[in-house]
Symmetry: D2
Subunit: 288 residues, 4 copies
């Protein structure tokens, strides 16, 4: 996608489908003197829902973003919309949760350093100390928060405090091997994206590469999804697969899977950071 030098606002809208929505939003934005750059729209006829992603320029002379916000807010109330608005000059802040595997971590931090994401990665939390040096090599803060069954509730409080303190907008579980408690998910207040190392809903649960090996599949997959209180059941953002064969041992599936996990998670994170993902029920709209 084009990344123009101007200041761009991205509006996400979801609501019950009804007549006149598109025209009303366009009029609100144009009325505030903003030029619409890009718009994607979707109607789910079964759920009877309407979704829109609309990007507009707020850097023109005489444009007052606050006025656009007021106009959008008015339309939003009229149509019963859920909306979110983000600005290109306020990059999202991402916290990564990791354990011992470093492939997704290194991949995301490398991409961030290479300028692939319009985002900041100020915090990495791990239940193991192993990746501290790797994280610091990328200039991010590393917090070791060991967790066991006895201290889980208390340690999750600590994690929530760290997220608030660092003003995090998104949590990414980059092969984090702890299950988040329902309480944590309730209270985190920002989206949480997880990478599952199978083509969900195949091979839900533990050791999916072993399960795939036993079943003799000819493709293995990875799935990035939003985390809900239902383990491995959250809305899917992105999936992909790679071919395997009778020659692949579990160790080969793990190796091929690493590449897949990196790619799928990076694409999902990118989609989210560019405000392309809307959740409804157990599904997503991903405007690409």
């Amino acid at each position: 996608m084009s990344e123009p030098p101007q200041k761009v606002a991205t509006l996400l809208v979801s609501c019950a489908d009804q007549r006149g929505i598109v025209a009303a939003i366009a009029a609100a934005i144009a009325g505030a003197g903003c030029n619409i750059l890009d718009a994607d729209q979707h109607t789910d006829p079964q759920a009877d829902m309407f979704f829109q992603r609309i990007r507009f320029d707020v850097s023109h002379l005489g444009v007052d973003p606050a006025e656009a916000e007021r106009a959008i807010s008015e339309v939003s109330k009229r149509f019963g919309m859920q909306t979110s608005l983000s600005y290109s000059d306020r990059p999202k802040r991402v916290a990564l949760f990791v354990s011992k595997y470093d492939h997704c971590l290194v991949d995301l931090l490398w991409r961030s350093r290479a300028g692939e994401f319009r985002a900041e990665f100020p915090l990495v939390i791990s239940n193991h100390p192993d990746l501290a040096e790797t994280v610091r090599g990328f200039g991010a803060r590393f917090e070791h928060v060991p967790i066991n069954s006895a201290n889980k509730a208390e340690q999750e409080q600590k994690e929530l405090a760290l997220l608030r303190e660092r003003a995090v907008d998104l949590v990414v579980l980059a092969r984090y091997m702890q299950v988040l408690s329902a309480d944590f998910i309730d209270r985190v207040g920002v989206p949480v994206i997880n990478i599952h190392h199978s083509f969900l809903p195949a091979f839900i649960g533990g050791k999916p590469y072993h399960q795939a090996y036993e079943r003799g599949v000819k493709l293995i997959g990875a799935t990035a999804h939003l985390v809900t209180s239902q383990l491995d059941e959250g809305p899917i953002i992105e999936q992909d697969v790679v071919r395997c064969s009778h020659r692949d041992l579990v160790s080969d599936l793990v190796r091929k899977g690493r590449d897949l996990e990196k790619m799928v998670l990076a694409r999902a994170v990118r989609h989210h950071l560019e405000d392309r993902v809307l959740q409804y029920g157990n599904k997503t709209v991903v405007f690409d």
Copy 2:
């Protein structure tokens, strides 16, 4: 895509980028009482061009399509737009040109019969008689128009007359082994889609599978493109590839390529029939 029972209009717009376009079009459609169902939009910042595909319902009580057309026409003049408007109850009419290979022909006619296209296929023209029976088995009219260097101009006149007589909206070259003259292309008056059996611009010209074999590539491709007077240089609509290896002889590439040609051509035809393709310069916007 959803295929609602209502009567739907699809508007394609392209013009120089400028402020207020989106809002103006939305207002014109809403002003005529029509509900916008779906909209996709693209700005090419390099070419400074704006493109939109917008679908709206014209089956509501009190909606007058002619009023929508007048309003759109007014906006179109104001902004210097190129527009096209089609209606779901007026299916496009497609002519196929073939020679001796039947795979793309059978694939397209089978898809048509299976209801995959909202279109009619009233005419097949061939420079060989071989596929007459196959075509008639699908209930389409077959016209044998043999061509040699001496009679080409005259026979192309005959083809143009057949296209006009059958009120054709689109010509598809489904592995047609004759080069259309510049004169034919000038006068045909409807888009012409061709399938080239390579990943253009690799292996331009004759015998691309032989060229691919000689070069030892590890993937072969197919390309569906709009036909212009520049052979194999027209705007690309769709491409895909399939893996090959040292084990593949030319005959294997031909076999694998057939599957690819069918898929790529069918997708391109489908995109065109659903009014998803806009041409500009030597490129296309394909809203999918």
Copy 3:
């Protein structure tokens, strides 16, 4: 793959892994004066099993295939092998089972007519009369064997008799909507390949495209597998996927799935017809 004019034998071997197997087989074939054209080999270190596919020329002057068979049989006994031997001049005979959907049927018969398979398709069995004309258009025999819960045992006997009468080597369920009884599977005596319209083991059972739609997956798949008495649990031969999105309704998944089912089933059938598939436990080795 090369398709030489000579008469070629293809030997498939599976046995417990042990020293000297490769050399013993090579010596047996060479000893009978045959030239080895191609050999693939695989060892599963976990199952401790050895697999080989070996093609050799039996058309040279002075070669006696019977002598090669004797030598192979001797090696086979010595090492406790399971072997199968087929000859390029004795094409396999395939029966298709269908119901009402014609896409896999037409695809396989078209490929057969186009010379893609070294096989004959002398028989199509259906529990519905609808596809009789389509089948006869390809010159194959159509047998209507209607099945209900009351007559199932009896009608399956009729099917088995038809398979024997037509000397069938392979049964392909080309979207056949009846579950074969355990008794049928026990007695059929030839491999049975099925196409399941999901990426197994995801969406086992009925209406997988509806299940996929409800789950909001971003890819849909198809799986060709050998049929065992465990429904949807047989050894997988081939799988593939295609991308889908929030824009796809169930009807779109069905349409995209048709292309996938055709491709995946055709590849699996081709692999089997070229003697590339070995089954062991619930898995396959596919030498490609």
Copy 4:
């Protein structure tokens, strides 16, 4: 692939096709008491060439690798073969050449550290100093060898000396932006693998992503090939593509292409390190 604890020899063979080769090699290896683990074989009927990759266990009691080598050498002479033999306990040594882009470099060094390659990476040579710290962070030696038109011959001598000094078996150009001289290629004495950022032979030469953008392709590719004195014309080892659209600017193609370059180069390097690649004429056999 399985990575057994035993010591494994991998033999690559190429020669004119002739009767008895497979049996002779198998007999030579078995005669030396070695068990064949895996064998792949290919005949190119057009070039009339035979190729084989054969892995055998040399860790059994009583096995003398030297005896196997003598037996193979005898067979090799008899049939006029080109052979190469490598052992699992003597990992290949790889030198990387880089300029300023770090994505392929970091990817390869990360994979090496993660144990994906059975190889050592003792040396990185660059014409720029920028990546020195990155390289040292992975524990590899970094050599800055700046090159301009005046000093090229002399600096290439220095590079050749470094390769010899570090006993390098393979050179990988990981987005190295200097053209190697014909003299360097003649004298380097080990294979050189390059990653080209297009689907060769499309977009040969400079700025392929710009060329792809101008042409409006719907897929971009990357190609890993062996370097010969013909720029971008060497034998292809591996290629892959990724989908792009009208929404992708050149900067997006560059970003998507980075992922592709990493994957394609890593696969090609892996294939080479596992002795799966044989070159003949301008082609490769890649046994996978």
